[in-house]
Each structure stands twice: as C-alpha cells, then as structure tokens.
Amino acid sequence: MSDDRSLHLKRQILEEIWEEIGSLHGKDLDDYLASIGLNRQDLLKQYSNAVSAAIAAPKRALFEDARRRLREKNTVESAKILAFDIAKKKQIVAAVRDHADSTREMTIAARNRKIEDEGDLDVFLEACLRLGVIDSDGNLKE
C-alpha cells in the first residue's frame, strides 16, 4: 500500500467527519454531539476561550515588543552613561543636585541621597536617566 493511498484515506476520513458535522444544525446537531459524547455548552465555552486567547495574543505581542524595545533603549543609554569616568559622573550628579535644589523638582530624600562610591553614583545616574532628569549624555533635561 502506498503513502498516497494512506494520505488519500486520511483526507477522506476528515472530509467525511466535517461533512456531517458541518451539515447539522440546532437539535440535530445537539443529538449528534450527544451520540459521540460531546456537549454544545462545553464546545461553545471552548470556542469562546479560544477567541479570547487569539484576540489577546497580538496585543500581548505588541506589548512585549514595546517592553523589549524600551528595555533595549534603556540598556544602551545606561551603558553609555555608566562608561563615563568618575569625575564626569560626579560632575553630572552635582549638576543634578544643584538643579534639584533650585527647582525643588526632586524629593528631599532623593536630593540628600548618600553617594559613597562609584556603585552609588551609577545607581543615582541610572535613576535620573530613567526618570528623564538627564539624557544619555548626562545633560540636564529642561
């Protein structure tokens, strides 16, 4: 027996199943479903769940894509600012603090945050970048 023969029979079997199901309506369909152990309400719920998942999928994909792009952008910008030498980083932090003192745009806690080493500097600069206080070159945003 050839593969073609098997394939033909498989297709024909699926066709026949659909031919029957697709031609039945209302009570005839319900009776048929009951005879093969299926139930309309369960099937309708299955359909409804599948629709919800299918509609949500593209939206979720868009959201994930936007999140990924934002993460990539933040990573690139952070990497740039973190590559500055300590003197430059301190200079940026000082400028941010001066600006914050004069405008009161940052909370007291943020303005008085202790910076003891380069790690603290990096954390502070990354936060300023994320909050939009500075750009990726360390310039204050007006």
């Binding site: 029979l9 697709g22 299955q46």
Partner: protein, 182 residues
C-alpha cells in the same frame, strides 16, 4: 487599513459566527485532536491565530468557518509530521526525566502497528474488524473509488451505502477520540 483596525475586523469575524457554526468547529477540533497530544481548544486557538495573521479578506461567517476548519485540519497534520521529524532526527527518548513516573519506552508506540505511511490503511482495516461492510467501504475508498463505483461493485443501494458510511464515520470518530486512529 492599519494593523489594529484589521485585527479588530478579523476578531469581530470570529465572534460573528452563529452558535451552530461555533459548535461545529469546536466539535471538529475536539474529535480530530485525538492522539495529537493537544486538546480541541488548542487546535481551535491555533487556527484562530492563523486567521488573525492571515491576509485573506474577511467575507462572511461561512468563509470564516471554512478557513478555520481548513486550518484545524492542517494544524493536526503538521503536528503528526512534526512528531515524525523529531523522532527521525532525534530518535525516541529512552530515559525518564525528573517528573515522569514511567520510562518513555514503556509507553512508546509499537511500530509494528504504526499509523504512519503505508500501514495506516491496514490499521484502519484491522480496527474495523468487527464490521465487514465498513472494511469493504474503506478499502474501496482507499482505492479512490467513486460512490457510484462502490455501490455497483458491492451491490448496495443508496440507503445501504449511506447507512454503512454513517456507521463508518461513527466508528472512525470513536477511534480518533480514543487516540487509536491518528
């Protein structure tokens, strides 16, 4: 039309199907999911994702239903093809993994009764062993005989032919749902 608008139109087409049409599709997916390892709802969902991503114009509920039905059949066929490719390329995994209770080989199919390739027709024939008329019909259909040829060769009238077809469909559906016929 931009993508979100298109998406809304395609999504609306899915909900525009009548209750009967939704039920028919879900029933079809449920029946032919047997033996795939997936559930009817999974096939249905995959088919809808294809619909959402398709460039095929939205026409009416009948066309949407036909698209989904075709997609369900195609996804099923791809699942079996994928399983065959994995088995051919990677072989059958023989050792159990952490959360498994049994060795995979204990549950592995006996290839002597495989439904792949040429053995499929023979297997269907054997599974229908209790009903000689169904066997005759299946063999004739596998040989691509037309309904008229079948009726003439087997000396069946229309009523007899339809009755045997109906019995065959019921049997095939049962075997599929039990995962015996892939």
């Amino acid at each position: 039309l931009n993508k979100p608008v298109q998406g809304n139109i395609r999504a609306a087409a899915l909900t525009a199907l009548s209750e009967d049409q939704r039920t028919q599709l879900a029933a079809y997916a449920e029946i032919i999911s047997g033996g795939t390892g997936a559930e009817g709802g999974d096939l249905l969902n995959e088919a809808m994702l294809r619909w959402m991503a398709s460039d095929k114009p939205v026409e009416g509920p009948d066309q949407t239903r036909d698209f989904l039905r075709g997609a369900i059949s195609s996804i099923r066929s791809n699942m079996f093809r994928h399983q065959r490719v994995v088995r051919r390329v990677e072989g059958q995994r023989a050792f159990k993994q952490g959360d498994e209770e049994e060795e995979p080989l204990d549950g592995a199919p006996d290839h002597a009764v495989s439904t792949e390739g040429p053995l499929f027709v023979q297997q269907v024939y054997d599974l229908c062993g209790d009903d000689e008329e169904i066997q005759l019909l299946l063999m004739a259909q596998a040989d691509n005989a037309t309904p008229e040829q079948i009726k003439t060769d087997l000396k069946w009238d229309d009523r007899k032919y339809e009755a045997v077809r109906k019995r065959k469909r019921r049997l095939v559906i049962r075997l599929m749902r039990e995962g015996k016929l892939l």
